[in-house]
């Protein structure tokens, strides 16, 4: 920030947060929920992937009562839900039509933007 100078520690923390906002081109909005920012809470003990079968706490609140550590980062649903949990996520048919739709996406949390969009083949 050029016109305001952070003086106390809270102000410095606010500046830190707004710096990332400011670094985007003007007017650009991004999908906040899919961003992997710095961890907001200390790393909790490892909880296995998956939904209610392993008693992870679900969508509403995490173990600490907040929302920072919900059972799955949503982008991971793309993989976990359609393969492991039978959650009806709208993803391409990996078996028949689009076996390579995730080829450029090595790690969903980082590379989710590279996932291909698949359109129905109009020639058929």
């Amino acid at each position: 920030m050029k016109h305001l100078t952070a003086i106390n520690r809270k102000a410095a923390r606010m500046e830190e947060v707004t710096r990332t906002e400011a670094s985007r081109p003007e007017g650009a909005k991004d999908v906040v929920a899919l961003q992997q920012g710095p961890p907001q809470q200390p790393e909790p003990p490892h909880i296995p992937n998956g939904c209610s079968l392993v008693f992870s706490p679900g969508w509403e609140a995490d173990r600490n009562g907040g929302t920072a550590g919900l059972c799955q980062p949503v982008e991971r649903d793309l993989f976990d839900c359609h393969m492991g949990c039978f959650w009806p996520a709208q993803v391409p048919d990996q078996l028949n039509h689009a076996p390579d739709w995730t080829a450029k996406c090595a790690a969903a949390q980082k590379d989710w933007r590279k996932i291909d969009l698949i359109f129905p083949d109009e020639k058929k």
């Binding site: 016109h3 106390n8 606010m14």
Partner: protein, 497 residues
């Protein structure tokens, strides 16, 4: 087009710089010419961003103004008028275009680790201070004819230690403050409890440390030796030079306590070097000469720190400080705070602890949801082992949370937290000092208004005046000796008075 209006903040000046204290975030920013000009323009009422750039065009170029507006919006100094504040989505802006101020109500969803347990080892006292909140006219627990034992037993003290260690939960550190009555009237239990607590803390892998408050009249050489070698933090209740001390701090026969206390304090200060020893002064209508009290306690007696608190009392008492008295008090505090500033600019120690504590809170920028740690990170135990909000409520059935044996009730604690959140205090909703005050002491409110849920409206002006003074000192130090503020980077330990 978006119409911009001011959000909540408190402006102040120091060392020729202009600052703002943001509410409710408690952040402090320094302004430059352009940001100050924008705020000034908007003071008259909400405006469109484009109009602002036009009006300020003679002094600043358009890009600079829009940059500034963006920054001010990012830190929530400005907001769009038609968009309600994020924290009060249902409310609409007032006539001036200001968004309704609000503090989000976030109540802890699970028990918070206990940081300090105040253990009242006795409710007896060898003094009979007229204004005493425990024994005097405004007491809330009948300590004389009540059910509780006069002295805490060794067994209850040990259970209190276990409670403190257990309730400190994931924290590595636990702290016990011994309190009274006159704490040292139960020195044998205090002594054995410290030994027990050290052993138990080591067994469960925690650090533990201790402090106590005393009137100094029972500081015998063996007691002083023990406190020094065990590194027990000591706070001494004393009201100033002899004539002031002896006005209210008297024995049962009316005789003043200064003559007995002063030599013992000197002996303690000469021997106890392991932790700084502080004085805690109760101010009354009759004893308001803050600078004289400070000078005597720090220079003549040699205290490292001196803290002042206005007496807690119902309004009608003859020692209660009146409105005019608070104005006078603020003047005195300001004068002493100026001394503190001068010393701090030269990196010299000054022991006026009220200003140091407020600077620490400003520096951290905590926006308090509760005025203090009572019932959250701090609790008080009465001589029979009942746990209450803090030591001032120890033994009171109406303010109890449980016992050291059976633990505290989380639903009760939650109900307390829900009822005492600053967002419940409608009077505080428009006050810029609420991030730091949050309504003030529960015990004071209970004594004054009969309910812990009420804000302490009788000292609002005083709190705002004092906070403003401390902001100015903070701004002065930030501009002229910023290195001095680094000492406040660490979290403070909770003060008990």
């Amino acid at each position: 087009m978006s119409i911009l209006g001011l959000r909540e903040f408190h402006p102040f000046e120091a060392a020729g710089r202009r600052y703002v204290y943001l509410v409710p975030s408690a952040a402090v920013f320094a302004l430059d010419d352009c940001s100050e000009a924008v705020l000034k323009e908007l003071d008259a009422g909400p405006r469109a961003a484009a109009d602002l750039a036009q009006d300020l065009g003679a002094r600043f170029d358009r890009a600079e103004v829009s940059d500034t507006i963006a920054e001010l919006q990012r830190v929530r100094l400005l907001g769009e008028v038609d968009k309600p504040s994020a924290f009060a989505p249902g409310a609409s802006a007032d006539k001036k275009g200001l968004s309704p101020p609000a503090t989000p109500k976030i109540v802890p969803l699970r028990p918070v680790p206990l940081q300090t347990l105040v253990v009242n080892v006795t409710n007896q006292c060898n003094l009979a201070c007229t204004y005493c909140y425990e024994y005097g006219e405004d007491k809330i627990v009948d300590t004389e004819n009540g059910q509780q034992p006069k002295f805490m037993s060794e067994e209850t003290a040990r259970e209190s230690v276990e409670f403190a260690l257990r309730e400190s939960r994931e924290n590595r550190h636990a702290h016990i403050t011994f309190f009274g009555g006159e704490t040292l009237m139960n020195f044998p239990v205090l002594k054995s409890t410290i030994a027990y607590a050290r052993r138990r803390a080591a067994e469960v892998g925690k650090d533990i440390d201790f402090s106590l408050t005393t009137n100094a009249t029972l500081l015998q050489p063996d007691v002083i030796e023990f406190l020094a070698s065990e590194r027990v933090g000591v706070t001494i209740s004393i009201d100033g030079p002899e004539d002031m001390q002896d006005k209210f701090r008297v024995f049962n026969n009316g005789q003043g306590s200064y003559a007995m206390a002063a030599p013992k304090i000197k002996a303690l200060l000469a021997r106890h070097r392991s932790r700084p020893v502080g004085a805690r002064v109760t101010l009354t209508k009759q004893t308001l000469d803050v600078r004289r009290i400070y000078k005597h306690l720090s220079e003549d007696l040699g205290f490292w720190e001196v803290g002042f608190a206005p007496v807690t009392t119902a309004p009608g008492r003859d020692y209660a400080i009146s409105d005019g008295g608070f104005d006078h008090l603020l003047e005195q505090f300001r004068a002493l705070a100026t001394e503190y500033l001068e010393a701090s600019l030269q990196n010299r120690h000054h022991g006026f602890s009220n200003v140091r504590e407020t600077l620490q809170e400003i520096h951290q920028g905590h926006a308090k949801a509760y005025p203090c740690g009572a019932g959250i990170g701090l609790m008080g135990v009465s001589t029979d082992g009942r746990v209450a909000l803090c030591h001032r409520f120890a033994g009171s059935d109406d303010h109890g949370l449980g016992t050291v044996r059976d633990g505290v009730s989380w639903p009760k604690q939650q109900a307390f937290l829900d009822a005492h959140h600053v967002s419940n205090k409608t009077d505080c909703a428009t006050c810029w000092a609420r991030p730091i005050c949050a309504g003030g002491c529960y015990h004071e409110a209970n004594t004054r208004y009969g309910s812990t849920e009420r804000p302490n409206l009788h000292y609002c002006e005083w709190i705002r005046g004092w906070t403003h003074t401390c902001l100015e000192i903070y701004g002065e130090l930030a501009a002229r000796n910023p290195g001095f503020l680094r000492q406040f980077d660490d979290q403070p330990t909770e003060r008990v008075s």
